[in-house]
């Protein structure tokens, strides 16, 4: 087993406010392996942006350790820390390009910091512009570029020093869906071709399911669950996990009284007419509330929210059939059923 490239252990981060202390991260431990794309997802305020800033020590953790490539960040001098940061590229939701520099000179910026000779830096920047497919825009200023182009320049800039890790803080959240897909495709390509480890912070399950190998779901400063994306997508164990996977669907559906179940498909059941069988089995119609397919790790996976018949006997029949057909399912926490105790939820 290889050593993790980033090892976060028992990280805690408090912010001193004027009146009270906010505990943004309570206790988080994560190991990111070299070459993987690791996702951290959570709702806003879950502590994920603070977490990624602790990884390169833009925020100093209150306690706990971050070990990057065998180096304990807490024991480094400021100078050593700056050298370590050059091995970690970072991109941001708002791109954070230098507005008074051209695309090319934005990319040479981290090289100038490192003291690389100008013509070498320019050569490297042109090479990177080619990788992010913007070779014809080297003299454009950020104000002349679209959001997606700006993020491409930011990615090229983050890669200039040949980092081992790329940290992405909500890198696609300011982009439209098509641009998001092209940026995600680029990240995936960089991961595959250059072997760079990518740590992705997002609040969008689509981002996780499209490019991540593993994911940690963060809630209220703690890890709610962690594992392979495909596993968590098929069978989330926590309420927050289910909420994030259903995403906006839960808001689109108008739930009334009754029991709702989310069932997932991974393509294996295509021989079987699942819904028809449910109806035949329970001898009662089921109501499809919501259906969607997602690309999870390159495999199309579907999810569907169905409303079960009211009769309890019929409900049992449906669930029995789902178990028999090996179709993963879990109950949807609707407003009506939200007082239900959720045993798997993380301790407070």
């Amino acid at each position: 087993m290889a050593e993790p490239i980033i090892s976060i252990s028992h990280l805690r981060k408090e912010f001193q406010g004027t009146r009270s202390t906010v505990e943004a991260i309570k206790d988080i431990s994560i190991d990111v392996m070299p070459g993987e794309i690791y996702g951290i997802i959570g709702l806003s305020g879950a502590g994920k942006s603070t977490l990624v800033r602790c990884v390169n020590y833009l925020e100093k953790p209150t306690s706990g350790e971050v070990i990057f490539d065998g180096k304990k960040l807490s024991s480094l001098t400021p100078k050593e820390l700056r050298a370590v940061r050059q091995e970690m590229g970072m991109i941001f939701q708002q791109f954070q390009l230098l507005e008074q520099r051209t695309a090319l000179r934005n990319i040479t910026f981290p090289l100038e910091i490192r003291g690389v000779k100008k013509n070498e830096a320019v050569k490297r920047a042109r090479e990177l512009l080619r990788i992010v497919e913007l070779e014809d825009r080297e003299n454009a200023y950020p104000s002349q570029l679209s959001g997606g182009q700006k993020q491409r320049v930011a990615i090229a800039r983050a890669l200039a020093t040949n980092p081992k890790v790329l940290l992405c803080d909500e890198a696609t959240s300011a982009l439209d869906p098509n641009t998001t897909n092209s940026i995600l495709g680029l990240l995936k390509k960089l991961n595959r071709d250059m072997g760079i480890t990518v740590l992705v912070i997002t609040h969008e399950m689509d981002v996780i399911s499209q490019i991540c190998d593993r994911v940690a779901i963060i809630d209220k400063g703690l890890i709610a669950e962690e594992g392979y994306v495909a596993d968590i997508f098929m069978a989330p164990k926590t309420k927050i996990g289910r909420e994030l996977i259903l995403g906006d669907a839960i808001k689109e559906v108008k739930f009334s009284e009754g029991k709702y179940y989310r069932i997932t498909f991974d393509g294996r059941q295509s021989q079987e007419p699942v819904i028809s069988n449910i109806v035949l089995r329970a001898k009662s119609p089921v109501n499809i509330m919501y259906a969607q397919t997602r690309d999870v790790g390159g495999i199309a996976r579907g999810q569907m929210v169905i409303q079960l018949p009211e009769n309890e006997e019929q409900q049992r029949e449906v669930l029995q059939y789902l178990r028999f057909a090996q179709i993963p399912f879990d109950e949807v926490d609707t407003v009506a059923g939200s007082e239900k105790q959720d045993t798997e939820e993380t301790e407070e």
Binding site: N56, L58, R82, A83, V84, R85, Q86, M88, G89, M90, F92, Q94, Q96, L97, L98, E99, Q100, R101, F109, P110, E112, I113, R114, Y141, P142, S143, Q144, R157, A158, T161, L167
Partner: protein, 221 residues
Amino acid sequence: MNFDAAVWKMILTGIWETIFMVFGSTLIGYLLGLPLGVVLVVTRKGGVHPVPVLNTVLGFIINIFRSIPFIILLIMVMPFTRALVGTTLGAKAVIPPLVIASAPYIARVVESELAEVDNGVIEAAKSMGASDWQIIYKVLLPETKPSLILGAALVLTTVVGYSCMSGFIGGGGLGDIAIRYGYYRYQADIMLVTVAILIIIVQVIQESGNRISLKTDKRIR
């Protein structure tokens, strides 16, 4: 007739003296005020390198200098001026008080301009391993160049006003002429001409500042 060759020569000398005083003292003022402004921004709470105590003390001292009315400052610094340039009369003698008045003002102007830089951009530079010093001269100053130029125009026009006030203590320049002829000799026409020239100087400075600033700004396309 007031406007003979001697008067015009005097006005020309006045123009030259005013320009010498204003640009000379602003230049020296920036040598002091620009670093002070940088220190104010960098050491403030949430800044690139917070040193709250230094920031508060420096801010307090700057406020003291900015509280002194320029006409009083002119008189207060006379001994210092004499020690430095050997006289308290003429254009050269006005430069020390102008520098003392403009440097704290420049520091505040620069501070507010540098504060425009988005914290996210500074954070990005830090994430690339930039040192505090590199953030100052590769991010803060270049990113605010257009604002700094506009600010310099603002400072120059303010210093034009100050330099004229120095006419009351025999400071030379157009203000001195306007005060001597308009106030002491009731020759309003000479005063009006010098005021008109001052208006032109201020307009030219401001307009050049606007144009250069706009030209260097890459945000607007």
